[in-house]
Amino acid sequence: MQPAKDTLAWMYEKMVTSRRFENAIEKIYMEGKSPVFNMADGPIPGEMHLSDGQEPVAVGVCAHLNPEDVVTATHRPHHQAIAKGVDLKKMAAEIFGKATGLSGGRGGHMHIFDADVNFACSGIIAQGMGPAAGAALSRQIQGKPGVAVSFIGEGAANQGAFHEAMNLAAVWKLPMVVVVEDNAWGISVSKEASTAIQRNSDRAAAYGIPGHYIPGNDPMKIYEVAGEAIARARRGEGPTLIEVETYRLAGHFMGDAEGYRPDGEKDGLFEKDPIPAMRAKLLADGNFTEAELDALEDKAQAAVDEAIGFARESADPKPEDALTAVFA
């Protein structure tokens, strides 16, 4: 199953949107943080986990999803949120902690929630697994359409929550797909040091469900495999576990010096940056002209500029609003 041209265009545009968004955030995050780098300072305080390099997973999977489908994401959620269609302006405003943000500034970058497109995320490793199973169960009980996709990191596959939700989804045949973004690192701990096997997709055997490993951070291949898995879930045939090899081009979070990486590893990764690679492929395949791709990039940049502008101009929340919205 190869993506149609408009899907390819969407995928490329969203990948670029995501990267340009991260570039903008990266720059603004550093404002007010020099000469002394203190997380608490600047227009965007707190931790910041960028998704540079991991865009193929997000677009390859979300190309198959509708707003009604559910996504639970992680502490590194921007690429997934953008691919799922989360409102970019409100998301940017949330990351800035503004009153106009998705949660009025209560959540911030690790807590992006958009009910309109059924997107949620969390700062606790593997926490989204249960909720994704539950959303899938909700659709199954109600006989309503929709699948749930849980994105997690390869490090998260060693958490108990992963195992429990996988078994639940499998034993109840829930319409769920689990996508493991294997960027080879959980902060400073390598997959090899943390995980007893090479491919988490082999853990599908523990639940009697299909498991697929996708090498090469390849958006087309991801599109294909995810498409099958999601279609299978929609047909009521139960969950699938997918692991995707991807690359983390930024540090774990901003401020990470990455001293734990073997020498030269990072350079190799930059050479495999999936965005230029996709551009090259789209051109090589003859499907797109340079002008078409430039136009998509411009559109992406415009959306990012608009969102960042909106976030910058928005007002801070009222301090007392901290005390509201605890209960519905």
Partner: protein, 341 residues
């Protein structure tokens, strides 16, 4: 009384759940042994037969998985009722409870609600040792974003369950095993009371005056209320009129009712089957001291579970548990009556 319809708490809980399930198709129940078995503590009995396997689901032993799933379902328009068989097991799944269920409403700025009920059994006294006998009231009440209730009798049990099921927020529903009405656990007779057949709510966050009095206020919840009532009965014979406040809900906490009672009596005893330190008893005493210090005729007292794990042997456990004797002695002391009576 002619039309009396005495129910156990177990049956009252099941009845409230069944009534809501009839009216509201989004309500469903899941947990370990809650379907076929009707719940180890009987509070889901009959539901499988009436509502079928789709809506009444036994789960694997995976509390993080299925409580997390309940949150996902709640955010997706369902109203899950989940059971954590013993509250003591909260450690295997507390992230899903306190960090996910309790906070997603806030984190999302109201973008998502998490309407669900987490039922869990509490309490000891029957020698089930230290991983099956705790109350942990304070552990849940301390953390923001979830309501916490615990009934002392079947009337409140039904009304609180109905209220919880209609609440758009997560509610922790703690039922005390000693009150549950399961013969094999013994039963506090005072918990089995008349329960109207029709549906009704008991407001979450409102304490009840279980007995009126003027000399000393005994504040408690669940099983402790019965200890308080028994103590009050005996104190009455000794000329001390104790008022017993049944909190019913720890979050929200009805501080007004507690304060009003102490304003009247000038004396406070908190009875708490949860651990002594950093819990319910401290909070109640602080609540009163902050606002009503001048009313206090004597320092407040607490009869709480000491800060030790719960032992198995009967003599050991009974030594630690709150009981009417301990309350009577404390009341006499702060009322200036000689102790022992």
């Amino acid at each position: 009384m002619e039309n009396e319809r005495k129910l156990t708490i177990a049956r009252a809980m099941a009845e409230a759940t069944a009534q809501e399930m009839r009216d509201d198709p989004s309500v469903f129940v899941m947990g370990e042994d809650i379907a076929e078995l009707g719940g180890v503590f009987g509070n889901t009995r009959g539901l499988l037969e009436e509502f079928g396997k789709e809506r009444v689901r036994d789960t694997p032993i995976s509390e993080t998985g299925f409580i997390g799933a309940a949150v996902g379902a709640a955010q997706d328009g369902m109203k899950p009722v989940v059971e954590l068989m013993f509250v003591d097991f909260f450690g295997v799944c507390f992230d899903a409870i306190y960090n996910l269920m309790a906070k997603n409403t806030y984190f999302s700025g109201g973008n998502f609600n998490v309407p669900m009920v987490l039922m869990t059994s509490t309490g000891g006294g029957y020698s089930d040792a230290g991983q099956h006998s705790q109350c942990l009231y304070g552990s849940f009440a301390h953390l923001p974003g979830m309501k916490v209730v615990s009934p002392s009798n079947a009337y409140d049990a039904k009304g609180l369950m109905t209220a919880a099921l209609r609440d758009p927020n997560p509610v922790i529903y703690m039922y005390h095993k000693g009150l549950q009405g399961m013969g094999w656990l013994g039963t506090e007779a005072g918990a089995i009371v008349h329960v109207p057949e029709e549906s009704y709510e008991v407001e979450i966050g409102k304490a009840a005056i279980a007995r009126e009095g003027h000399d000393v206020t005994i504040v408690s919840i669940a099983q402790g209320v019965h200890h308080g009532l028994k103590a009050a009965e005996r104190l009455a014979d000794q000329g001390i009129r104790a008022e017993v406040v049944d909190l019913r809900s720890l979050v929200p906490l009805d501080r007004d009712t507690i304060r009003a009672s102490v304003a009247k009596t000038g004396r406070l005893i908190v009875v708490d089957e949860d651990y002594h330190s950093y819990g319910v008893s401290g909070e109640i005493i602080a609540t009163v001291t902050e606002s009503n210090m001048a009313d206090l005729k004597a320092p407040p007292k607490r009869i709480a579970y000491p800060d030790v794990p719960i032992p198995f042997a009967r003599v050991l456990e009974q030594h630690c548990l709150p009981n009417a004797d301990k309350i009577v002695a404390a009341a006499r002391e702060i009322c200036g009556a000689p102790v022992p009576a």
